[in-house]
Structure formats: structure tokens, C-alpha cells
């Protein structure tokens, strides 16, 4: 075991510090040290997207980031999407459109879709599918997820011009 490292970071707009081994992934640190288990692990090699978090201004698969790399960074996880007890429009759209079945991929999809809507306020179906192709869902066939994201786009940004 290597010496543990103190990491100062901001998670969901709150300053957080945690102690981790250099080999521990950001995902592990979030789940096992900080106690934010909303971010899920599905594959450990960046291919399923369940562990997606926002790191700085980009979404990443947190299984492929070391916890120590988060020093000085700002992180958003699924626990930080809602405003108090008010769901984020994407969260509400996922419920309205039955866009989750088992729900294990949902946190990753929500974070990824949030970043999509910031980059493309009115994404086409093709843009949405391309952006979300790093997130696997095995239950839904994606149909209701795509519809939920499109509905949330209108809710957040108004109808496309």
C-alpha cells in the first residue's frame, strides 16, 4: 500500500476533502470514501458509462480517473442534479417517460444528458444518440431515454426555433 493522499475538491458545489490511495479511482473515492453511491460501476473500463460524472466542464467515466486527479477540481454527480427537493427537468422527464427500468444506468445517462443539453440546447435524435453512445442501457432499447432527453430539452430551453 502506498501512502494515502489528501484530496481537496468540490463535489456538488460543496467543498469536500478525502483521503485516498493513488490507485483508487475517482469512482471508488466517490462511492466508498465520500459515500456518494449514486454513481454506479458497470464495467470498470470506460465502456458502459454508468460511472459518468462531470469533472470540471466535461463528463468523464469516473472509473478511468484517479481520485488524486480530482484535486482542485469541481465534480457533479447524480446526487447534485436536483435543486433541493425539486427534481432537475431531466430527472422528471425520465420518470414521466418511463425512461428507466432497472435504473442502474440512469445516473450516468442523466449526467451525460445534462452535458448534452448544455452543448446542444435542442439536439437532434442523431446528436442525442451519438452523444449518449458511451452509456449502455440493457433494459429499454433507448427509445424512452431519447424521448425523455428531447422532452427535457424543450422543458429547459423552450421549443426549438
Amino acid at each position: 500500500m502506498s501512502a494515502k493522499v489528501q484530496v481537496q475538491t468540490t463535489i456538488n458545489n460543496e467543498p469536500v476533502q478525502f483521503l485516498c490511495e493513488p490507485r483508487q479511482s475517482l469512482l471508488e473515492c466517490l462511492r466508498d470514501i465520500v459515500g456518494l453511491t449514486g454513481t454506479k460501476e458497470g464495467c470498470g473500463d470506460g465502456n458502459c458509462g454508468s460511472c459518468t460524472v462531470k469533472l470540471g466542464d466535461r463528463i468523464v467515466t469516473s472509473c478511468l480517473v484517479l481520485g488524486v486527479e480530482a484535486a482542485g477540481e469541481s465534480i457533479t454527480t447524480v446526487e447534485g442534479l436536483a435543486h433541493g427537493s425539486t427534481l432537475h427537468p431531466l430527472q422528471k422527464a425520465f420518470l414521466d417517460h418511463a425512461a428507466l427500468q432497472c435504473g442502474i444506468c440512469t445516473p450516468g445517462f442523466l449526467i451525460a444528458a445534462d452535458a448534452l443539453l448544455q452543448k446542444h440546447p435542442h439536439p437532434t435524435e442523431e446528436q442525442t444518440r451519438f452523444w449518449l453512445s458511451n452509456n449502455l442501457c440493457r433494459c429499454t432499447g433507448y427509445d424512452k431515454i431519447i424521448r425523455a432527453v428531447q422532452a427535457a430539452a424543450i422543458e429547459i430551453n423552450g421549443a426549438a426555433q
Binding site: 449514486g38 449518449l132 432499447g141
Partner: protein
């Protein structure tokens, strides 16, 4: 006759929705317990080998390691002991053997030993320090090879080499039937081993208390099956094991068997602390149960009128390391959509050096439907008939006798075919060159099995629902809706909670498309008991003999109270009302599903794009149509992945070369179109609301529908699934 409902058929927000979109819902791997330590499993690198020696001393000496276990740590039991946990009987030695290998390893990935340590990294380092001496043996990886003379033998105690079971169904006079046929087509098709692909890896945490009780937390399709199997493996009474089902990240049949639970328990017993085990994705591929690869030969004869005169099938399914391929259901479903007088079906359950297979959504049926439905497509073309018309001329209906003996009660085969024929998709032109449209249908039985539920009336007029069916796709809501319908309440007035095995009556797996049917029946029955008790309270209050209940209002002798008003008075009329029901139902209604699919093939690369798909299914009655559509879309997506790209790519030594999501190519969002759905409702007379169950039949048609579409696009009939680009080009 159509019944009108207040709640059934609406689309309320699921009860666990807020927890699941905010990250609060706790899945198995999310569990944190005081003093909890972590485990890792050592797996075999060989597909077939004798274990000569296991030396755990170096692992045990590593700082941070608490315990190591192997098969030698199971309590002693007679070699021929059989365990029965309600849903099928198994040899204890097979059950244990798959959990920790003893004597021989039978597949690459077979668990050999396990370590518990201060964290998962140290546990993995320790597992790598365990020394195992193997004597490698020749391996056999496919059913036809395993059935051939001279094949390496996996189990010395099977009477017929690697054939664990032979199945045979016979009806009528096959030779006479074929003699009447004017067109006969025979084809042989292979399918590769595929995995359910649930995104959440298997996990289990166990604590073996000093009082002898074992508490297991895991993501399972059936907490009671996990309890009973764990108790059997550990040779303790079932009452000594309590399973708390955590939220579950997909199962599709793959999270019925136990893999980690007994191992975590054995480690915990040695250490006296809770032990958590979580699989890696590669462990999931190589160490859990995929669904069988198969070879199926089908021969069908049809007369000039387009009537099937005879049908014959030969099926060999790869069980993996231990007996139990899904060849039984494969054989029973191969011709189940059709009324055929002369039939012969032979099935072989064959062990091979691959992971021991388990159920996957209508297990066994997609493999066999692939052969039947592509042969029928070829016959339709030869006869110049629309492929749906050929099927309609032969469609099973009420009274049709299946080859395995029983006759259908009400069945929606004709209704599904007619819905397909009338659909906008089937009547739309194809968009361009190199495109093809395929259709296919399929059948699945659905299951009954026991279920339990308790309803407790709250003074504010809501009702708590206690149940034991793990919720993989919205079943809290489909069950609550049935209670609400009976009680005249809204879905959101029911508060469902899924509890541990000590806290509710026995409940079978969330599988076999049975939860909304069976647990739904238990909820329905408990709700009716609540109504009766509440009527009695109203009768007492009003001093009347007769109380009526409709649309949420009790009335009698000119007085009336709403459910909520009466609920508020329960305390004063005799105390709280709480009713439990346990069912073990008959009356299961099978489901027919169909798929229409358009593909486009790049003639230079063989790449297939799915352009349009319409899934049609008889739900009996769709309780929550959005989640019924979701089942149909999900099953279709899985079937398309199975048809086009997914497979276990094994090297000659039996090692899976693509055990990651990168190379086990499940469809991404970019690989699928929107999936249209048409819900057909032919009510099941065996359920008060007509429910049949919708989880499975939808995965039966896609393999064949894609194959038929590819034929129309390319002119080629492929004899192997996956029909990937190289296969399509014959390279």
C-alpha cells in the same frame, strides 16, 4: 367485452422513481456496513483441468488478508445429495461445484478460491498469490463436438457421455404428413453463446452471526431462491438464512442462480465480519451463466393450400459446464405458434467447457424460433404467399394442441399476426436499395409460482403494500395499480415496500414474466380481503347487514363513506386492517409476440443498419402500458444485439477473448432506431384483470425477423447467428 378501469391502463409515475433518478436507491454494491471487508475470487485460466493442489499460504500471509476459502470449506455432504428449492431440483455437488470448483475446473473463469481482505485491491492481490497446480485436459466447446464419439468427457457420472438429457415430443404421423406436402424446406442454424448483459455486476454481502444466522444482502431476481440455494449450498436450514434484496440492476434471467452469496457467507464465518463480493465485468462474462449456444435443424412441409402438414426439429443446446441447457423450452416452443398435426421434436442437453448456462428471457425459445421462422419465410416465398398470411393459415388458437401435449386456452396468435399485418410499418414502402423487411413471431409460456403480499390500511386512507418481488422494471407500480384498482384508490395512494425473506411470505423470482401476474394475484386477493374487512367495519358502524363497495366508496342503508373516511375510523371500529395473501396460481396465460424489422446492408462491408422496428405483443391486459412498451422495446433491442453482433468469442483453448463491453458488442443508442410498439390485449381468463405477462416473448422473434430481413436485403440465407458483417459477406 371490454372492462373499464380507473387505474389499470394508466401511466402513473413509478413509486421508486425519485430514488432511482437521484441516486438514493441502494443497489447491492452500494451497501456499506460497519466492519465490512471485501473479497475477491480466483478463477481458472483453463477450460478443463484437474486441480492437483491449491496452496493458499502466500495469500494468507499478505498483510490485510483475513481469510481464504476453497471448496474444501463447504461442510461435508453425501455426493448424491439432491436439493429442492421449489423451482427445480439440483444435485448439491453441481450447485456447489459451480460456486467453487472441486476436483476439476470445467470452464475458463470457473471460481476456484476466494479471499477476504481489508479492501478489494488487497483481496485481488492476495487472490493472485494463491498457487493452483492444474493438469490441463482437452476441452470441448460446442454441442455437436461434445456429442461426437471420442469427445473429452466433462462428468464421469452422466450415463450418455456429454448428453445430460434427451427430450422427445411426437404427435401424429410424420412420414404421412411430409408425403402430403408440396413444399418441404429443411435448414440447420447455429447460434452462439450470448449473455444477458445486465449493467450491474453480481454482488453479495454476507454476515454470519455468532448466533448461527446468516444475513445476505444481494441483487437477485428472487430473494427466496437466493435464500434457499444459499442454505442448501451451506447445508444449513433455510430459516437460518435471511436475504435482504437490494435494488437490482437488471437480470433477464441471469440473476436467479447464486454465485457469490455462499462464498461471502463462508468468508464471513471465518472472519466474523460482513464480507462484500462484487464481480468485475469480465467475471460476469466468464463466471456467471450466459444462455446456450445451439444447433437447431428444422424441416417443415406445407401443402398447396399453405397448410403445414408436418414439422420436424432436432435441437442440441450447450448447457455449459453442468446439465441444464434450456432445450426443454426450446423444444416445447419450436412449433408452438402453429397448429400442426404431425410433429417430431428431439432435443439434447449437452455439457461443454463453457460457463454453466442460465436463463435469459424466454430461455431456449429464440434459438429454436430462429429455425422455424426462417424456414417458414422460405416456404412463403416458394409458395408466393405473404409471410404473415402463411402464418395466419396455420396460427395456433384456442384448443390447438402443442406437441408437448396440452391444448391452448385463449391465445392471441391470430390477433398478433393481424395487428402486424394492419400496422403502418408493414404497409409502408422500404426506403431504398439494399434494404429488406423481415417478420417473425414467437411464443412464451410465462410462469405462475408462489407469491405473497400484505396490505395494511393507514388512517389517512392510503395503503402500505409489503411484497417480496424484486423490482427490475416497475413492478412496484404494476402491483400497486392492481391494489388501487380493487380498493378504488389512486396508484400513488399505495406505498409499496419490498422486504427481506423474514418479513413476507414466500415469493418466487421476478422472472418468467410472472410478477405482474402472480404477485399481482396475491395483491388482488389481499385487496379483496381488505375490502371485505372494511365492509364489515362499515356494517358495524352503521349497524347494517349489507354494505356495498364500488369506486372507492362503501355504502349501505343510505349511508356512505369513502375509503379514506372509513380508514380514519378503523381504530374505533375494531382496530387496524391488514390482510395477507399467498397464491400458487394456475391460470397462467402464454404470450405471443411478433416483430417487423427493416434493415439496410452495406454490400461492400456487410454492415447492417436497423432502420425501423415494430414490436407487437399480446399482453393480455397492459396494467402500466409504458412499462409494457419498455419490456417490448428492451426485448427487441436485446434480440437485435443477439442477431447481429453479440457472441462469446472463444479461442481453441476455451478462453473468452471478448469478455468486455468493448468487444462483446451490445447495441449502443446509436445502433438502434426508435422501437415502435403495438400492445395487443387478448385477456387471460386466468387472471382477474386478464394479465398474461410481457417480459419474455418479445425476445423470441428478433433473431428470425432479422435473418429474414437480411435475406430480403442481400438474397442470402445465413446459417449462423450472430449475422455479423463478416458472416454476411461470407468472410
Amino acid at each position: 367485452m371490454s372492462t373499464t378501469y380507473n387505474v389499470i391502463g394508466t401511466r402513473p409515475i413509478r413509486h421508486d422513481g425519485a430514488d432511482k433518478v437521484t441516486g438514493r436507491a441502494l443497489y447491492g454494491a452500494d451497501l456499506q456496513l460497519a466492519r465490512m471487508i471485501h473479497g475477491a475470487i480466483l478463477r481458472s485460466p483453463h477450460a478443463h483441468a484437474r486441480i492437483l493442489r491449491i496452496d493458499t499460504s502466500k495469500a494468507e500471509a499478505l498483510p490485510g488478508v483475513f481469510a481464504v476459502v476453497t471448496a474444501a470449506d463447504f461442510p461435508p455432504a453425501p455426493a448424491d445429495k439432491i436439493v429442492d428449492f421449489g423451482e427445480g431440483d439440483t444435485l448439491l455437488s453441481s450447485l456447489r461445484g459451480n460456486i467453487l470448483a472441486s476436483g476439476k475446473v470445467l470452464y475458463s473463469g470457473h471460481a476456484v478460491a476466494a479471499v477476504a481482505a481489508v479492501n478489494a485491491h488487497v483481496a485481488a492481490e492476495a487472490a493472485a498469490l494463491i498457487e493452483v497446480d492444474y493438469e490441463p485436459l482437452p476441452c470441448v466447446l460446442t454441442a455437436p463436438e461434445a456429442m461426437a464419439p471420442g469427445a473429452p468427457i466433462l462428468h464421469d457420472d452422466l450415463p450418455n457421455g456429454n448428453v445430460a438429457e434427451l427430450i422427445r415430443y411426437e404427435m401424429g404421423d410424420l412420414a404421412a404428413g411430409f408425403a402430403e406436402a408440396t413444399v418441404i424446406v429443411e435448414r440447420e442454424l447455429d447460434t452462439a453463446t450470448v449473455h444477458q448483459g445486465y449493467i450491474e455486476p453480481q454482488n453479495a454481502t454476507a454476515f454470519w452471526s455468532s448466533d448461527g444466522r446468516i444475513h445476505i444482502w444481494c441483487s437477485t431476481q428472487g430473494s427466496f431462491v437466493a435464500r434457499d440455494a444459499s442454505a442448501a449450498v451451506l447445508d444449513v436450514p433455510v430459516s437460518q438464512v435471511k436475504v435482504t434484496p437490494m435494488e437490482i440492476g437488471g437480470g433477464f434471467g441471469g440473476k436467479i442462480n447464486v454465485y457469490l452469496e455462499p462464498v461471502a457467507a463462508l468468508l464471513s464465518k471465518k472472519v466474523g465480519r460482513p464480507v462484500k463480493l462484487v464481480m468485475s465485468r469480465r467475471d460476469v462474462f466468464t463466471g456467471t451463466g450466459p444462455t446456450p449456444g445451439s444447433r437447431v435443424r428444422v424441416k417443415i412441409g406445407v401443402n398447396d393450400a399453405g397448410k403445414i402438414t408436418a414439422a420436424q426439429a432436432w435441437l442440441a443446446y450447450e448447457a455449459g459446464a453442468y446439465p441444464g441447457a434450456m432445450v426443454g423450452p426450446g423444444a416445447m416452443t419450436v412449433f408452438a405458434c402453429y397448429e400442426i398435426e404431425n410433429v417430431l421434436i428431439e432435443g439434447f442437453d449437452v455439457v461443454v467447457n463453457k460457463p454453466s448456462t442460465s436463463a435469459y428471457r424466454a430461455p431456449g425459445a429464440p434459438n429454436s424460433a430462429l429455425a422455424t421462422e426462417t424456414v417458414l419465410d422460405e416456404i412463403a416465398e416458394k409458395l408466393g404467399l405473404d409471410p404473415l398470411d402463411l402464418r395466419l393459415r396455420n396460427a395456433a388458437k384456442e384448443g390447438t394442441r402443442r406437441a408437448d401435449g396440452p391444448r391452448y386456452k385463449r391465445i392471441g396468435c391470430i390477433e398478433v399476426l393481424e395487428a402486424m399485418k394492419a400496422s403502418p410499418h408493414y404497409n409502408a414502402p422500404l426506403p431504398g436499395p439494399n434494404c429488406g423487411r423481415g417478420v417473425a413471431i414467437g411464443f412464451w409460456f410465462n410462469a405462475g409460482l408462489p407469491s405473497s403480499a400484505t396490505l395494511s390500511v393507514n388512517a389517512d386512507g392510503t395503503v402500505n403494500l409489503i411484497e417480496g418481488s424484486t423490482d427490475i422494471g416497475g413492478s412496484r407500480t404494476s402491483l400497486s395499480m392492481q391494489a388501487a384498482e380493487v380498493l378504488g384508490l389512486r396508484a400513488e395512494d399505495i406505498h409499496p415496500t419490498i422486504v427481506d425473506t423474514d418479513s413476507v411470505g414466500y415469493t418466487g423470482v421476478t422472472g418468467g414474466s410472472r410478477t405482474t401476474f402472480s404477485t399481482g394475484l396475491a395483491v388482488h386477493d389481499a385487496a379483496q380481503m381488505v375490502v371485505e374487512q372494511m365492509k364489515a367495519r362499515a356494517a358495524r358502524l352503521w349497524a347494517v347487514d349489507e354494505v356495498a363497495f364500488s369506486n372507492g366508496t362503501f355504502s349501505g342503508n343510505g349511508q356512505s363513506l369513502t375509503f379514506a373516511e372509513l380508514a380514519a375510523q378503523l381504530g374505533a371500529t375494531g382496530g387496524p386492517v391488514s390482510c395477507s395473501a399467498t397464491v400458487n396460481p394456475k391460470g397462467v396465460g402464454g404470450s405471443i409476440a411478433g416483430l417487423i424489422i427493416d434493415v439496410q446492408v452495406d454490400p461492400e462491408t456487410g454492415k447492417t443498419d436497423v432502420l425501423r422496428a415494430t414490436s407487437v405483443q399480446d399482453a393480455g391486459k397492459a396494467i402500466h402500458p409504458a412499462y409494457v412498451e419498455g419490456q417490448m422495446q428492451g426485448g427487441t433491442a436485446q434480440g437485435i444485439g443477439w442477431a447481429l453482433n453479440e457472441e462469446y468469442f472463444m479461442d481453441a483453448a476455451g478462453d473468452m477473448r471478448n469478455g468486455s463491453y468493448l468487444d462483446y458488442r451490445m447495441p449502443t443508442a446509436l445502433d438502434l432506431p426508435m422501437i415502435e410498439t403495438i400492445i395487443v390485449e387478448v385477456p387471460n381468463p386466468g387472471h382477474p384483470f386478464g394479465v398474461r405477462g410481457v417480459g419474455e416473448a418479445n425476445i423470441v422473434p428478433p433473431l428470425a425477423a432479422v435473418a429474414n430481413a437480411l435475406y430480403r436485403a442481400t438474397g442470402k440465407r445465413l446459417n449462423r447467428v450472430p449475422m455479423n458483417p463478416a458472416t454476411i459477406l461470407g468472410l
